[in-house]
Amino acid sequence: MSGYPEIADKLMSVDEAVKRFIKDGCQLAIGGFTVTRNPMAMVYGIVRQGIKDIHLVCHSNGQALDVLIGAGCVKRVEIAYGGNGRFAPTCIRFKKAIQKGEVEFEDYSNYQMSLRFLAGALGIPFITTKSGLGTDIINLEGFSRKIRKEQKVASQKLIVMQNPFNDADDKVVLLPALNPDVSLIHAQYVGEDGTVRIKGLTFADIEQAQSADVVIVTCEEIVPRSFIRSDPDQNSLPPFFVDAIVKVPYGAHPTACYAFYDYDPKHLNLYKKAAEDDNLFKQYLDEWVFGVTSHDAYLDKVGGATLMNIKANPVLGYAPGLDRK
């Protein structure tokens, strides 16, 4: 692609980003949170290319998690929460996969997972918290001892130890750092210099990006250098953290993207119905993932009127009055 000489080597299509960076068995961190800014365009690309045995790491994820698990791309997951707000309080394919024993899983909390990414970003091997003392998140390991020896799996889930700075009885939890092979982030803006700007809440996306070996950013817009540099306080990541940039408008659909579009209730309800049934879910993937040849074709399928309905009011950041039932 031309026109952006500073990032010409990083600009690529979804398919190329998957081909170059997402390998079978890789450890993958996905950004966003439940119904917002899930990197869906990349997720669809991963499903289309049939990537297998992914080791997923996330705090609270929704649609991206559910589609990846449902499509059979995921072998193991370290997670705090799998839910899609009111549309699916527990992600449906995630729930089915765990109940059937189809994925290996390990439960942490949101803060614990966020801290593990932070530790990875800081280059420290572990990090401490007091969160979880007394709970089964501390007491029960999800992963078997056998897989504890595999790459990117911590030798123990966590450790409770005495605070070495306190003589009195005082327990802390030690959490192993995470350094994913790849982090997927969906942002509103990437500057033509490669600077990333996430608007609205950033969740743990910045820590996830800084802790990963490879960062793929999909974005709504590529904006002039003068724009991104006129208000640098708003920026989220400097260019050197980013390995691939993919411009995909509505790239988080059917999840939301602050100031650009709301979540798509119609699609999330349609998905919910499909996800409940194995055959309908297969049809959903055939129709919405395998059956569309490009992201443009996907958007055409969603339809212009729907895209306008969920379009965010740029001042409020969401779509006021949207029928969200």
């Binding site: 966003g32 119904v35 997670i79 109940q99 909390s109 614990q112 743990a204 979540y263 039932k325």
Partner: protein
Amino acid sequence: MANYTDNEMMAISAGRFIKDGDILFAGTGVSMLAATVAKKVYAPKAVVFFETGGIDPSLEEIPMAVADLRVMSGTCLNSGLIEAFSIVGHRKLHTVAFLGAAQIDKYGNLNTTVIGDYHRPKTRFSGSGGACDVASFASGVITFIQHEKRRFVERLDYITSLGWYKGGNSRRELGLQRGGAMAVVTNLGVMKFDETTRAMYLAEYYPGITIARIIENTGFAIDVSRAIESVPPSEEELRILREEVDPQKLML
């Protein structure tokens, strides 16, 4: 007496616990209603914030998830998850968290992870999300749950979020400096926890609900000697809830 639904009574009952200056941590579902109604009716100087990092949003429309765009609109600050959890546990702040659960025991410990065996569950739920963190750090937790025997259990299938642990002083002895279960709000009444034993007791039963019905729907022995009938929601409380908090009727 005004007509009202279970969700309305639950949101209002929880809202009545809130004081000006409290920092309210809202989860999903009824807790979103409760936090919003608390601020609009009882404690205008309380601040509603979300684990996702949105602090004091305008809430002109009710959010349907903690990552809903509506939690980031009109805020004083949009932070990240790590900052949000540092607020929940901050020593300078009195933070009250609203949580939901699939199961609760008599010390207010919560399960939002599985029913059945952890490794091969009969039913898998969403998991902790931020609930475990909030239960570890907040000054107090108010739990919303349907009052059923299968939910009020002697022994949780999985402890996701800590209440008073094993009662008495056991929570502090674990190393958690503050917090604990403050109240449980159900479709039948309001439960609190004894100051010494930390065991759950019935504090209020809603108008039209009998104490016998509550005992029958609680899977462990519960002290009902302190129970009084709840004050029903006023016309004004209901008006604000219906017209200002959730006019689109997404939760009510």
